[in-house]
């Protein structure tokens, strides 16, 4: 069974083609990452998937059913990019409001509110106004609202934007535990590290086009660049050592040495070992960042 099935979906805003024949499938129980730079079309695709926008063309199936737009919000939990909470209400007040909109009432609502607060680690702040919460706490509550309806499919649109590493780790733990319990998760992000850590399946989206879909290993295998040595200089004024027969790329304090042959890596490491202007020397393995660079000619972070 598929949790979400997107077939040849297109969407155009004025003269911008936001999505261009995008097709992907999120299998039941998968942790699916939608990776792309800002403006790639991730949020547009999310909004179509959760029923907020109509596509110009294509087909969408949720849990193997073709639903009407109004039915879609009831079939899944959605965590928007914005912290969409009422600051002047308490954590409990926010959860109760959104729970009632989903048709959950009475004792069942009380039970679910307590359960969600425990899941997101905010039981002790149940009666506190959201206004006084830290960014991380708000992000967790933002996620908690989507869990109230105990959805089988959860969509998260960049849920860790602007939070501290501790809160991010806490959200990751929660998502991993939800995934282990059988929930299908679609997670959009422009952070390669997040996709690599969390997602079983990753799709790379840029300028509304799907560039590749697969597991992390499958995608990394597509990277043409072999492993290389990265030298981080102490300062931008430092002159990097010139190594004959080695392709060399410099960007600020970062210098990448790409070996020509298989044994070139150890040779480069040996030659850089005594260089005093080095802050750090590391071997970089093929990753999604490289794949994105090869596919688009741009770095993911700079795109």
């Amino acid at each position: 069974m598929n949790a979400i099935e997107v077939k040849e979906i297109s969407k155009r805003f004025a003269d911008v083609q936001a999505l261009d024949n995008v097709s992907l499938t999120v299998r039941q129980g998968d942790f699916f990452g939608l990776l792309g730079p800002n403006g790639a079309g991730k949020t547009t695709l999310m909004r179509i998937m959760c029923g907020l926008l109509s596509p110009d063309g294509g087909e969408l199936r949720i849990l193997d059913s073709k639903l009407e737009r109004w039915q879609i919000p009831f079939a899944m939990g959605v965590v928007p990019q914005d912290i969409a909470l009422y600051d002047m209400l308490t954590a409990q007040g926010n959860l109760e409001l959104f729970g009632k909109l989903r048709g959950i009432t009475g004792h069942e609502l009380d039970k679910r509110v307590d359960k969600v607060l425990a899941q997101i680690g905010l039981s002790d702040r149940k009666k506190s106004r959201v206004k006084g919460f830290s960014g991380g706490m708000k992000r967790r509550l933002n996620l908690g609202v989507a869990l109230l309806s105990e959805p089988r499919v959860l969509l998260l649109d960049e849920p860790t934007v602007g939070i501290d590493p501790q809160s991010r780790a806490s959200i990751f733990e929660l998502l991993e535990s939800l995934h282990q319990s059988g929930m299908s998760i679609l997670y959009t992000t422009h952070y390669m590290e997040e996709a690599e850590r969390l997602c079983r399946t990753i799709a790379i989206l840029d300028h509304g086009k799907l560039l590749g879909v697969g597991s992390l290993d499958e995608l990394v295998k597509l990277v043409k660049t072999p492993r290389f040595v990265r030298l981080i200089l102490r300062s931008e004024d430092e002159t990097a050592p010139q190594l004959p027969g080695v392709e060399q790329r410099r960007s600020g304090m970062r210098v990448d040495y790409v070996p020509v042959g298989e044994d070139g890596l150890s040779t480069i490491l040996g030659k850089l070992a005594d260089f005093r202007g080095a802050q750090r020397v590391e071997v970089v393995a093929p990753n999604l960042e490289m794949l994105f660079l090869e596919l688009t000619g741009r770095e993911l972070r700079d795109a």
């Binding site: 914005d82 959104f98 909109l101 989903r102």
Partner: protein, 444 residues
């Protein structure tokens, strides 16, 4: 100083990014100048608008028609013997009903014996008035007296002669009595030697009009009392304890309720900016649900606010709210709904809080001024009176005036309630359509 300059430039740059708000900065005062200019009659040289007076001529002689003809020539008056598309002339009952309903402030009823009374030196007429508009009735009275003297030149001499004859008769009686005393009692009374000058007191001849009635001369007040038999009859509001308060309390409450409903726009814009509106949609609410929830909230708040204002009017000015409680509550709820719908329209059309503020000022102040919340509608020029009928404020104020002034119950305010509710439905529908489009744009 540089920092202040940079910060000020930043605010200017931000403001320039909102062309609608920028336009409203200039449009708002321009609109208000026009609105208040027209309200206070500044559209031309006329300071006052033409006063509309219903006229019923019951006189069988020529006098009544002549008086109407003379009054009709005055630029200050617009005499109406028929109303609307009617071809049949008004009768006294119909004219009285129109004044009672508040459609007109004054009706001039010329009695059947008007011509005869003029011959007797008496100006007889009945002015049926709505005392809420003392200006029209007062002006009509003054103009009638002036016109009567011009139209019926013998009216004053006739009245004066009548007064003089009364005095001469008294003096003749006095003379006959003196003669009888002399004859029967054999005494010789001194000759009074009265002539015309003796008949008038010195004060009267010198223009003093308040001479003592016992002085033997004319009393000007008594003279006018004899001549001026125009009766003013208030046919509505007789029971109102504090007439001015019913209008000012309702008017102020309605105006400030309109300012209150402006909060809907702020709240909606905040929700859209923060993403909570989108989340509400994700949780199964519709754009209509979001707007109607704002309407409901505003109706509750507005109802409470208006009720508190009315109770305050009762506490401070003895506004008779308890005598009219059921009708007043109905009108309060209907008014709260209608004004809330105005707030919804402002919300739906405003993309920023600056725009909402601008629209709010234009709509609220102009509607309050034109609709009769700031000034009673009888003070407005006729052209504005026509325009005012498309504003919900006008119908809300009419409703409150019907209750407090015309002593109407729930059935008496059905028309106003119906119009207000129809306006509410139309404005809400428009707001929902616009809001849906805006949400679609925002999500895109």
């Amino acid at each position: 100083m540089k920092n202040i300059w940079h910060l000020a430039r930043k605010d200017f740059a931000i403001f320039m990014t909102d062309p609608v708000a920028l336009g409203l900065t200039f449009i708002v005062p321009m609109v208000m100048i026009v609105v208040f200019g027209f309200v206070f009659g500044g559209q031309g040289k006329e300071a006052l608008s033409e006063l509309r007076v219903l006229v019923v001529n019951n006189d069988s002689g020529k006098g009544g028609a002549r008086l109407i003809e003379s009054l009709d020539k005055l630029s200050e008056l617009n005499l109406l013997e028929t109303v609307g598309k009617d071809t049949v002339k008004l009768d006294s009952t119909r004219a009285a009903n129109l004044v009672k309903k508040g459609d007109y402030s004054v009706a001039l009823i010329i009695p059947p014996n008007f011509t005869e009374s003029i011959k007797d030196g008496e100006l007889r007429a009945n002015i049926l008035e709505d005392p809420r508009d003392p200006v029209t009735a007062g002006l009509l009275l003054g103009l009638m007296q002036k016109t009567s003297f011009e139209t019926f030149p013998m009216l004053m001499p006739s009245a004066m002669m009548s007064g003089m004859l009364d005095s001469s008769a008294t003096m003749a009686f006095d003379k006959d009595l003196a003669a009888a005393i002399e004859k029967n009692f054999g005494v010789d009374l001194p000759d009074s030697g009265m002539n015309f000058k003796d008949m008038m007191s010195e004060d009267f001849l010198l223009g003093e009009t308040s001479s003592n009635p016992d002085s033997g001369g004319f009393n000007m007040g008594a003279f006018f009392d004899k001549m001026n038999k125009i009766e003013r009859t208030a046919i509505v509001g007789q029971k109102v304890v504090n007439p001015a308060v019913s209008h000012t309390t309702a008017g102020t409450a309605v105006t400030f309720m309109l300012f209150g409903v402006g909060a809907i726009a702020a709240s909606l814009l905040r929700e859209m900016r923060s993403g909570t509106a989108q989340r509400l949609l994700l949780m199964g609410a519709t754009a209509g649900d979001i707007l109607l929830s704002k309407l409901l909230y505003s109706v509750f708040m507005g109802t409470f606010q208006l009720f508190v204002m009315m109770v305050y009017g009762w506490l401070i000015f003895d506004l008779q709210i308890w005598d009219h409680l059921p009708a007043m509550l109905v009108m309060i709820i209907v008014t709260a709904a209608t004004m809330s719908a105005v707030g919804l329209v402002i919300s739906a059309f405003s993309a920023t809080e600056e725009q909402a503020g601008g629209f709010q000022v234009v709509i609220i102040l102009s509607m309050s001024a034109i609709g009769g919340a700031m000034f009673p509608s009888f003070m407005l020029p006729n052209a504005i009176k026509m325009v005012s009928k498309v504003t919900p404020v006008f119908w809300a104020m009419q409703g409150f005036n019907d209750i407090f002034w015309r002593d109407q119950g729930i059935t008496g305010i059905m028309l106003e309630c119906g119009i207000c509710l129809a306006m509410t439905a139309v404005m809400t529908a428009i707001a929902i359509i616009i809001f849906k489009r805006r949400l679609a744009t925002e999500l895109g």
